[in-house]
Structures are given as structure tokens and as C-alpha cells.
């Protein structure tokens, strides 16, 4: 009795089919494992804060504290005017000039908004309005962010240009860093925001 012979071409075809099915099954298996691993990892939120007015200090801090409350890994890079938010003596203000969307108690032409004294008036008004409505203060949000483990990183370049010494910053923040450090940290972020 002779064993059935398989022609070379036919054998190659059978081997290819078998290998394909094995490889495909294994790839699916590994892919599912990776997905599960990804799902277990907390989400990562990277925010760049570039503005230092009272109103614009809110968005990065609100988003950061919310993300941290969801159990996410959150980092905020404070650069340019945003760096002022991290200063001990930050005295954030809001200007009415160039902000026609700002609700005013009386309609006011843009030119008048530039009068001396308008900025402190607007700042006091906004702080009062925020407080009346139950919005947390910037001080509270920063304290909460630190408590929740949000990484607050000051930009070294801005420090140098604006002449902010390291001693002018609040305690508990991350070491001074540059764009490279922040970007490499943010490279695998699930959400990246520029404010």
C-alpha cells in the first residue's frame, strides 16, 4: 500500500491555510488582551494653560479637577500668561476691553471699557457673581487639584522671560520643565486640550 502523495503545490497551499488560520486566531487573542489592558489603565488628560486672566484661569482648573474626580491621570502645563495662575501672589483680574461677550450690568461701548479703574471694577464684579452662583474660587480649585493629584507644571522658558523666580510659585507643584518634558508625558494622553 502506498501513502497518498500530495503534490508540492497542493502541500504549500495547505500549509499556508493552516498558518493563516493559526496566526489570525493568535493575533485576535493578543489584540483582545491589549484592549483589556488599555481599558484597565486610567484615562489620561493633558491640558496646556496659556491665559492668566481671572475668567480664563477657570477652564483648565475645572477640567483638571473633574478629570481627577473621574479617576484620571491629569497634568496641566502652565505657560505664557497661564503661568501667573501658579504664583503665590497671583491677583488674577479680568479686563472688559476687547471682550464684547462679557455680560455687563449696563450696555457699554468698548471705548469706555478702557477707562482707568474698569479692570478692578470688572474683577470685583465677576468674583462676586461667581461666589453668588456657587462657583469655586481659583484658590479653592488649585488646592483641590493638588489634593486630587493633578500634576501642575510650570514652564521654565516663561519663568525666565517673565522673570518669575521659582520661589514665587505655590508649594506642591511639579518641578519646572519645558515643552519636551510635557509633550513626552502627554504623548499617550487620551485627551489633550489647549486653553
Amino acid at each position: 500500500m502506498t501513502a497518498p502523495t500530495i503534490a508540492g503545490g497542493e502541500l504549500d497551499e495547505l500549509i499556508r491555510e493552516r498558518v493563516d488560520s493559526l496566526v489570525s486566531a493568535r493575533v485576535d487573542e493578543l489584540f483582545a488582551l491589549k484592549e483589556a489592558e488599555r481599558a484597565r489603565k486610567p484615562k489620561k488628560l493633558a491640558i496646556i494653560a496659556t491665559k492668566g486672566t481671572l475668567d480664563w484661569a477657570y477652564p483648565p482648573l475645572i477640567l483638571a479637577t473633574t478629570g481627577a474626580s473621574l479617576g484620571w491621570d491629569v497634568g496641566v502645563f502652565f505657560t505664557f500668561y497661564g503661568l501667573k495662575i501658579l504664583q503665590k501672589d497671583r491677583k488674577l483680574e479680568i479686563g472688559t476691553t476687547g471682550n464684547p461677550a462679557m455680560p455687563m450690568p449696563v450696555p457699554m461701548p468698548q471705548l469706555l471699557t478702557a477707562l482707568p479703574g474698569m479692570t478692578p471694577i470688572a474683577t470685583t464684579m465677576m468674583k462676586r457673581q461667581f461666589k453668588q452662583h456657587g462657583v469655586a474660587s481659583i484658590d479653592e480649585l488649585i488646592e483641590l487639584a493638588l489634593e486630587l493629584g493633578v500634576k501642575l507644571s510650570p514652564c521654565g522658558m516663561t519663568m525666565d522671560v517673565f522673570g518669575f523666580p521659582e520661589s514665587s510659585f505655590i508649594d506642591g507643584i511639579e518641578p519646572v520643565c519645558g515643552a519636551t518634558h510635557f509633550l513626552t508625558w502627554a504623548a499617550d494622553a487620551d485627551i489633550a486640550l489647549f486653553t
Binding site: I62, T65, T66, S69, H133, G134, V135, A136, L148
Partner: protein, 79 residues
Amino acid sequence: MTEALTVDQTLDCKGLLCPMPIVKLGKAIKLMDPGAVILLETTDPGSIPDVAAWSQSTGNPILSQDKTGPVMRFWIRKS
């Protein structure tokens, strides 16, 4: 149904706006024992979708919720 739930802690966030109700809820739930129930009271208009998203994202289920006038109440179990 909501009357039957035993509440271990009540968190009054009435009058507070975003992000405070969620931040306070997150902090409070961390200190609770698994299985314990917290009753959250809010008036922030975004609370219904926000608390739902927080619940789904953190895995702590909302057992029940209601709304009376401006006040929303959520019964949440720590998983």
C-alpha cells in the same frame, strides 16, 4: 422605591456649580466602604448627565434618582 434605600451618607451640594458636585462626590466616595450608599443632592443644571457619566466612568452605580423643582437627588452605591 427610593424610600426603601438605606443611606449611609448624605452629600449636600445644593447651590454649588460645576465642578464642585462631582469633585465632592469623588472625594466622599473614596472614604466610603464598598456597598455603602450615598445620597447626593444638587442644583447644578448639568447634574443629571454629569452624575450619569461619572457613575459610568468610575463604576459606582446610580441606584435611583429624582428631581423635585430645582433639586436633583441621586442614590449611588460605592462599588
